[in-house]
């Protein structure tokens, strides 16, 4: 195969000019702010470069994506079809509600996937953090380093290794089960086992983040609170319930919200571990949208799918921000 040079000269110029463009704008605005006195000029000078980059590279494609959602794609041409895509998706046209390709089925799978993962991440992460913060525990530095390893492994590698681990013929999991006399399981041929394989993989790679967040938050809880509670005769459970948990909340809540948004759109794990098997049933919304676009060439339909994903997340974060604000109010 003829291999053209991957990076042409003009390309290199562009590669380095792209980050430089905001810099230039930054300098111009900086100079302007020095010449004219305005209370907010300095602030804008600092914010503009990042905002500009975001506007060009996120808002423009976002706007285009939004526009695409109202079109149909055929042989490279887009025609405006109004709300047709949305109607088709929301009416689950062509698929029964319980069919793996129906929007509602996939939404259900996605919510289950997100909830289960985040709960496991938070529970395991917090549990380990509570054990590891014991001041007299030896070797805790070693444990901590070992336990953050999954976070450092690129997640597509994690996904592919676990896919191998769950392989029916040679996978380690079936080998282990064989030791206790269980017949080899075809993990990806049934919904629940395939789903379990995905969740296992994602739990493995996600708990260290929560552990680190919880460890940091625990450090900021003053020790004397526990001493006072000891003096008052509070049990360990009471101390956990009434001191640790309320004081952890402000730090854990944002991490949990962010974590659930990330998990909701966790493409790599689903796409690479189960690959949607069996019959696309374990696909989550984002993978489904990807398939409509890049496997079926139905860009408009896929864009509408993506818009719906975004709306679901927006509603979720609206809900949780109210929740976290009320938590802040309660615990100051």
């Amino acid at each position: 195969m003829p291999a053209p040079p991957a990076v042409a000269a003009g390309e290199w110029a562009l590669l380095f000019a792209a980050p430089l463009l905001p810099l230039v704008v930054f300098a111009v605005i900086g100079a302007m702010s020095a010449s004219r006195r305005s209370p907010h000029r300095v602030a804008y000078a600092y914010v503009t470069p990042a905002m500009l980059g975001m506007a060009v590279l996120i808002l423009v494609p976002f706007g285009l994506g939004l526009a695409l959602a109202f079109t149909r794609h055929e042989h490279g041409a887009f025609t405006f079809v109004g709300l047709q895509n949305f109607v088709r998706i929301l009416k689950s046209e062509g698929f029964a509600l319980t069919h793996p390709l129906s929007f509602y089925f996939t939404l259900g799978v996605t919510i289950l996937w997100t909830g289960l993962n985040v709960a496991l991440h938070a529970a395991i992460g917090l549990g380990l953090a509570l054990i590891l913060r014991e001041p007299t525990l030896r070797l805790k530095g070693v444990y901590r380093v070992l336990l953050i390893v999954p976070w450092a492994v690129p997640n597509y590698i994690t996904a592919l290794i676990w896919k191998g681990m769950f392989n029916k013929q040679y996978g380690l999991i079936n080998h282990l089960l064989g030791l206790v006399g269980v017949e080899p399981v075809g993990w990806f041929s049934q919904f629940w086992t395939a789903f379990a394989a995905n969740v296992t993989t994602n739990t493995w790679l996600g708990f260290p983040f929560m552990m680190v967040v919880a460890l940091g938050a625990l450090q900021s809880i003053p020790r004397d609170l526990y001493e006072a509670a000891d003096v008052d005769g509070a049990t360990r459970w009471q101390q956990f319930r009434h001191i640790t948990l309320p004081l952890l909340r402000p730090a854990l809540l944002p991490a949990i919200i962010l974590g659930s948004v990330w998990t909701f759109n966790m493409f790599n794990i689903i796409y690479l571990v189960s690959g949607g098997q069996p019959n696309g049933a374990t696909d989550i919304l984002i993978v489904e949208a990807y398939r409509w676009a890049f496997e079926q060439d139905r860009y408009g339909y896929a864009a509408a799918y993506s818009v719906l994903i975004f709306l679901v997340l927006l509603a979720y974060s609206g809900l949780t921000s109210r929740l976290s604000r009320s938590a802040e109010g309660a615990y100051g």
């Binding site: 291999a3 590669l15 980050p19 900086g30 690129p154 290794i161 676009a293 896929a302 864009a303 975004f310």
Partner: protein, 281 residues
């Protein structure tokens, strides 16, 4: 089980804790050890058995990788994309986070909200237009396209991260510097940035990881093997019908090594840095 006590808990309790932690750590490391084992085994099958420790020390897989047609080119692609993304992401995030932390200006709340909302944009929604935009610009199969996309995905998280840390730096320092006649920029450059080194390091690590580990955009935008980044090439080894586990494992090790090294170097800062962002973010 959580509250710290002055006296040592009884020995049985402690042994239980160590047993639990050690078991958990071994279980956690198992898949990683598996990769190491397969990387140093001259075969392409998935290793079977229960022993996670390497039984052979062959460098054949690594030799094969290095001899593959585009390996070094792909390595360079990954390095360049990750380096430029990190530099651009961290610089832009630092200035923006400083403004969000220190100034009250019209649009501040809206700006912060906008950054948060971008975290919710589904990748596919961006992918389709980006694919067409890059296609129009002739940037498919070009690294510049990837750098542009990665920097902007990295920035919002970096901004939150750094803003949280800047918020914890006492203002007295800046006020006295202002008294001494220092300019706003001097304060940012000479006081804030040096004090924030740990947080900047952590932020840089996340930016680097965003680009270094990204797989699906690269796989979608790059069709020419010479333009692949390493993740795309590695995924090729694990096909649906044939899987070259040995080559994949060796490559996985090479790709993970730098990230692991950075993680261990920065892990002390990780705890403090993340929490500052979490509490105030």
């Amino acid at each position: 089980m959580s509250a710290p006590h002055a006296g040592d808990p009884k020995p049985p309790v402690r042994w239980g804790t160590h047993f639990f932690l050690a078991t958990f750590a071994v279980a956690t490391l198992f898949p990683v050890l598996w990769v190491v084992k397969m990387a140093f085994r001259p075969e392409q099958t998935f290793a079977t058995g229960l022993n996670p420790l390497p039984t052979q020390l062959s460098l054949q897989n690594f030799r094969d990788l290095f001899a593959a047609p585009h390996f070094w080119q792909q390595m360079m692609n990954s390095v360049v994309v990750a380096a430029v993304t990190t530099a651009a992401g961290v610089f832009l995030a630092c200035t923006a986070a400083y403004a969000f932390s220190r100034f009250r200006f019209p649009g501040r709340r809206a700006g912060l909200m906008a950054f948060l909302v971008t975290q919710m944009f589904p990748g596919t929604m961006m992918m389709i237009p980006l694919y067409h935009v890059l296609d129009q610009l002739g940037l498919l199969d070009h690294l510049a396209g990837l750098v542009l996309v990665y920097s902007t995905t990295a920035i919002p998280f970096c901004v939150f991260q750094l803003k949280g840390y800047f918020d914890t730096i006492p203002r007295d320092l800046e006020e006295s510097a202002l008294m001494d006649g220092a300019s706003q920029f001097t304060i940012f450059w000479r006081i804030i940035l040096p004090l924030s080194r740990p947080a900047i390091a952590v932020t840089a690590l996340f930016s680097f990881m965003t680009a270094w580990n990204e797989y699906i955009l690269a796989a979608t935008f790059m069709s020419d093997e010479a333009a692949y980044t390493l993740p795309v090439q590695l995924q090729q080894y694990v096909g649906d019908y044939t899987t070259e586990w040995g080559h994949f494992a060796a490559g996985a090790l090479l790709v993970s090594a730098p990230v692991m090294a950075l993680f261990f170097l920065l892990q002390r800062h990780l705890v403090g840095g993340l929490t500052a962002g979490g509490v105030k973010g």
